[in-house]
């Protein structure tokens, strides 16, 4: 067995069925061995899309996503995708080709120090210099990528290592004595948490992606019902709780639901679970829950106290800790104070439901998201790009199950939406997958229309076309005196013709109701479709201006009750 075959064999042993990649000079040996192998390879049209697709695959499935690129420019094209998965704790293994060992350091053709380049954006990296090491390196990479707080691992394989014969196939884990994540919550801390929750009169729960990553959503559901506390989520926490539930208030943060942003500072106990308190979630820190105690549950000790000072930290896996808490709260009688508080917040939620009903032309993005919501089921997957389209989706779409709302949160990577949908669809072929994009971000990755056509991957790409770079345009409108510097796209391509030139069906939508019809047809046909939706470029999202506190939103927050 040669090195490249060992890569394939090891991946298969780890349960990998599909990899996303793009060949090049230094991966020719690997691709030659792939030719006869029974593992699926999806040839993307740009390496960045391979990394995003692997990330989307990982987020939708909870399994490791694998992407592959050649050395030098192939590897550096993965960087944005690797950084995206690093910021959002997504388990991705990226494999790159490298120039032969004897040329490393010589500025050989297509040589780049990809290990060095990706050091700050990977959990760990390996460069096996001996084919015998490959099975262990791959197994250990999967272990590191998934264990504790997940994240990307890079494996850089010099060309001659791909070609070299193994003397034995030994896939023992490489010892990593420096890596021992704490998984089990400390029972003493959990007991303290129990007491704090018991004493609280106005508790609130803030759930982040950590709950989803820990597969702890059922436990969260049980927990919030046992203690009858309202739940908010971060952007990436969407789906940790069914957002159509009474207890779920929706997203908190810069573009959060009004009920969450208005209410969070009223709580006297914030129970934050699997969340890193990003600045986009908290607003100005010194006016974030100033009068409240904070319990912070997270698997990464470095997140405790990093941004928000914490009264009670519990380090560990959210599922384990929630299970321990739920045991303590079995048969717990919720106090009258808490019941009153929670009903007050639930009432407020109904009062402050955001307006999604419009019949304007050009279409309001809110109404487009509403139409999407009406067609999709709880099992459908919605991925977003970054910018206004993302926030329209995050704000107005109710995620009902975990791993069904996929978005680039931490890095905010434009161009993520469409390729991550490809990965999600490969992971969950039975589920309808829709990606919501802006016209700016979609153009960054529109070449992947070729991929969905070639491999018959029926994802539905919705492009909210407003011919602006909407989020920056909105900031310029609200905060920079409407000086729209370089945010008007001017002449955009005809997206319908663009898709059709790739062989992908497309339809333009301009009137209310048409999005819904187009989606229904797309789902029925089970083919990749682009839906080009012309929307109002001047519709802005309510937002926290930079430096503002969480309850200091600007922009009109239109309410659904005013129209119904």
């Amino acid at each position: 067995m040669r090195g490249g075959e060992a890569i394939i064999e090891s991946l298969k042993k780890m349960g990998v069925e599909t990899i996303f990649g793009y060949p090049g000079g230094q991966t020719i040996p690997f691709y030659d061995m792939l030719y006869d192998a029974d593992i699926n390879h999806i040839l993307v049209r740009h390496e960045q899309a391979a990394a995003h697709a692997a990330d989307g695959f990982a987020r939708a499935s909870g399994k490791v996503g694998v992407c592959l690129a050649t050395s030098g420019p192939g590897a550096t094209n993965l960087v944005t995708g690797i950084a995206t998965s690093f910021m959002d704790s997504s388990p991705v293994v990226a494999i790159t080709g490298q120039v032969p060992t004897h040329l490393i350091g010589n500025d050989a053709f297509q040589e780049a120090d990809i290990i060095g380049i990706t050091m700050p954006i990977t959990k760990h990296s390996f460069q096996p210099r001996d084919p015998d090491l490959i099975p262990s390196v791959i197994k250990t990479s999967f272990d590191i990528a998934t264990c504790g707080r997940p994240g990307p691992v890079l494996i850089d394989v010099p060309k001659e290592v791909q070609e070299g014969e193994l003397t034995k196939f030994d896939d023992n884990l490489i010892q990593t004595p420096g890596y021992n994540p704490t998984l089990k919550g400390n029972p003493r801390q959990i007991k303290k948490a129990y007491n704090l929750i018991k004493e609280a009169k106005r508790p609130m729960v803030l759930a982040g992606a950590g709950v989803i990553l820990a597969n702890a959503c059922e436990e969260l559901h049980e927990f919030v019902h046992l203690i009858n506390a309202p739940v908010m989520t971060s952007l990436l926490g969407k789906g940790a709780i069914d957002e159509t539930e009474d207890l779920a208030l929706g997203m908190l943060g810069m573009h959060g639901r009004k009920v969450s942003n208005d209410s969070v500072n009223e709580c006297d106990l914030l129970i934050a679970i699997g969340i890193r308190f990003s600045d986009r979630t908290t607003g100005r820190l010194d006016s974030f829950v100033p009068d409240s105690k904070v319990i912070h549950i997270d698997i990464d000790p470095a997140e405790i106290g990093k941004n928000v000072s914490v009264d009670l930290p519990i380090v560990g896996d959210a599922k384990n800790i929630l299970n321990q808490l739920n045991d303590l709260f079995k048969n717990y009688k919720v106090s009258k104070d808490v019941n009153e508080w929670t009903s007050k917040i639930q009432k407020r939620k109904q009062e402050l439901l955001p307006r999604v009903t419009y019949d304007d032309v050009p279409l309001k993005p809110q109404s487009v998201i509403k139409e999407i919501s009406e067609v999709l089921t709880p099992d459908s997957i919605l991925t977003t790009d970054v910018g206004q389209n993302q926030m329209w989706a995050a704000h107005f779409y109710d995620a009902q199950k975990p791993r069904k709302f996929i978005s680039s949160g931490g890095l905010g990577t434009m161009g993520f939406g469409f390729p991550s949908a490809i990965g999600a669809k490969v992971a969950c072929p039975e589920d309808v997958v829709v990606s919501v994009n802006g016209d700016g971000g979609f153009l960054m990755v529109c070449q992947e229309l070729a991929t969905v056509y070639e491999y018959d991957i029926p994802v539905i790409a919705v492009v909210l076309e407003n011919r602006t770079l909407g989020m920056v345009y909105q900031w310029q409108s609200l905060l920079y005196d409407r000086r729209h510097s370089e945010t008007k796209l001017g002449h955009s391509p005809d997206f319908v013709k663009l898709a059709e030139s790739f062989g992908v069906n497309a339809v333009r939508v301009e009137k209310p109701g048409e999005t819904k019809e187009a989606l229904k047809t797309a789902i029925k046909d089970n083919e990749a479709v682009l839906i080009d939706v012309v929307v109002d470029p001047n519709e802005a999202l309510p937002m926290l201006p930079p430096g503002a506190g969480i309850n200091e939103m600007i922009g009109e927050y239109k309410l659904e009750k005013d129209v119904i």
Partner: protein
């Protein structure tokens, strides 16, 4: 309040580890004052002694973030009770014979060593904690210092 802290870490003795540690400090905007690396008592592991100027919050982040690196095995803040030493080489001018005698006296007082002699210059080797070396250097400044080369602090906690 910002203070100097001495952190002793045990790391895998592999290429790239120093880069990872140093890179972490840059990326997280921590202020690294010095870093020394060498083999440890365990084969395959190196000891890195890092001095960092930080307040308690930053120090906590430094420790936790370092701990997250797979190649970092153990971290200990040994600021409080440790032997701290740095080695420094100073090349100093000798403007006249009187100066030579004075410098030799200083060398004796500081228990330093003269390791190279020419007619115009001396190279002096001195070890000690940072304050001692700083004091010695400032005494020599008047004669004209041609070169200073310092190793950065290494340290070891006292007792068991």
């Amino acid at each position: 309040m910002e203070k100097y802290h001495v952190i002793s870490t045990l790391v895998e003795n592999k290429p790239g580890v120093l880069q990872k540690v140093a890179g972490l400090f840059t990326r997280r905007d921590f202020n690294i004052d010095s870093i020394t690396v060498g083999e440890s008592e365990v084969e395959g592991l190196a000891r890195m002694v890092i001095t960092v100027k930080a307040d308690d919050n930053i120090l906590e982040q430094v420790t936790k973030q370092l701990n997250k690196l797979v190649d970092v095995i153990k971290i200990k803040d040994i600021s409080k009770n440790a032997v701290k030493r740095e080695l420094c080489l100073v090349k100093v001018n000798i403007p006249n014979e009187k100066a030579r005698a004075e410098i030799i006296q200083y060398v004796n007082i500081f228990r330093a060593k003269i390791v190279d002699v020419t007619e115009e210059t001396l190279i002096i080797e001195i070890t000690g904690d940072m304050e001692k070396i700083n004091a010695f250097i400032s005494l020599l400044k008047g004669y004209g210092i041609k070169r200073i080369s310092r190793t950065g602090l290494t340290a070891m906690s006292r007792g068991v």
